[in-house]
């Protein structure tokens, strides 16, 4: 039983919070050496730090060396710690340009947007709010960009409220669930921007997402 637990990678290690997974090479091979992640309740946890404990391959020369190498390959361990991997917020160059333009025209709004985006990184509970299909809270309103969602692109629209009311800007962002990154694609002023595939910003979004390699979801 202990061997089975060890083999599937479940180890209780004193001094660590929660579980420590030590994946066996065979299991890692099965999952293609990709990061193994799971959700534990609300917290997004991921297993990281895969460090092989294999000596350089030069030690595997010769017949016995090869056997030793095989043995060591079996011994190879990947040490992993279960930790929270928070979502990161990446601002695309186009969005930086948008923010700088807004900063010239409307300084408080630009600062409020940047401050709020930083709050996302600092308080991951706010990120959870961004995943609702139509979420409206005191200070934010989140909605899917339906035209792009229909194409399988995970693009969302966010509007913010400051002391004076709703800001006349929409933050377009794409969620990359695999690498835990929210890519801010652009910040657009609402009146000229149309929720339409013919809009130049929308076209730019599609190109950007394709360049980023964010996988499309199955459009409903």
């Amino acid at each position: 039983m202990i061997f089975l637990l060890w083999f599937v990678g479940i180890n209780f290690q004193p001094g660590y919070h929660g579980l420590i997974f030590t994946m066996q090479p065979v299991v890692l091979r099965l999952i293609g050496h990709r990061m193994w992640c799971s959700d534990h309740g609300v917290e997004r946890t991921i297993v990281i730090l895969a460090i092989p404990n294999v000596p350089p391959s030069r030690e595997r020369n010769g017949f016995f060396g090869r056997i030793k190498g095989l043995v060591r390959r079996v011994e190879t361990r990947y040490i992993m710690g279960v930790i929270d991997v928070p979502f990161a917020v990446a601002i695309r160059p186009r969005a930086i340009g948008d923010l700088l333009t807004i900063r010239v025209k409307d300084r408080p709004a630009a600062v409020a947007i940047a401050h709020w985006l930083q709050r996302l990184v600092e308080d991951q509970e706010v990120v959870e709010r961004l995943s609702g299909p139509e979420s409206e809270y005191d200070e934010i309103s989140v909605a899917q960009y339906q035209e792009l969602q229909n194409l399988g692109l995970n693009v969302w629209l966010l509007k913010l409220k400051d002391n004076k009311g709703w800001l006349p800007y929409r933050i377009l962002y794409a969620r990359d669930e695999i690498s835990s990154v929210i890519h801010v694609l652009g910040v657009v002023a609402r009146p000229p921007f149309k929720y339409d595939l013919s809009d130049p910003m929308t076209k730019e979004c599609i190109h950007e997402i394709e360049a980023l390699g964010i996988p499309r979801h199955l459009a409903t």
Partner: protein, 154 residues
């Protein structure tokens, strides 16, 4: 007359004694290998691949250097008041915001990672907080230890 052989024998020095290579740490049941080359805890925050994007923390830091620091401090102080009013007391987050600091800035002052500050603000790992970290936190936030302790036990 000394021959070449005797001359070479006179200067002969034994080679450096052969030492066995140090034993590679072996797997021990229930233990991580004690190999300093293999850290058992991540040495730094895992940084996701931003794929050429700019981190929001870097962007805000750049704007603060450009002369927008006061604007951010003002917004943080406003946030701190909201949080304190909502909770009815100061929390670590509200204390940080009241000091006008971002998590990255506080982490630099305390000498830790931003993710550690985020965890402490969330309420995890605060029981095991080192005394030195507590002192650094109190110094950075300009509060006394009692107030900090109350904020951490939120």
């Amino acid at each position: 007359m000394k021959s070449k052989l005797s001359a070479s024998l006179a200067t002969w020095q034994p080679e450096k004694p052969y030492t066995l290579p140090s034993r590679r740490p072996q797997f021990q049941w229930g233990k991580f290998p004690e190999n300093p080359a293999i850290p058992t805890v991540p040495p730094h925050d895992p940084q996701p691949d931003l794929k050429g994007g700019t981190s929001i923390n870097d962007l805000v830091a750049e704007w603060e250097r450009d002369g927008y620091a006061e604007d951010f401090v003002k917004l943080r102080v406003e946030d701190s008041q909201e949080i304190a009013a909502e909770r009815g007391r100061d929390t670590l987050r509200s204390l940080r915001l009241k000091a006008g600091l971002s998590q990255v800035q506080l982490a630099k002052l305390v000498g830790t990672q931003q993710s550690a500050i985020a965890r402490w603000e969330k309420g995890s790992d605060t029981n095991n907080l080192a005394r030195s970290s507590m002192r650094s936190l109190a110094r950075a936030l300009s509060v006394d230890m009692t107030m900090l302790d109350a904020a951490l036990n939120d």
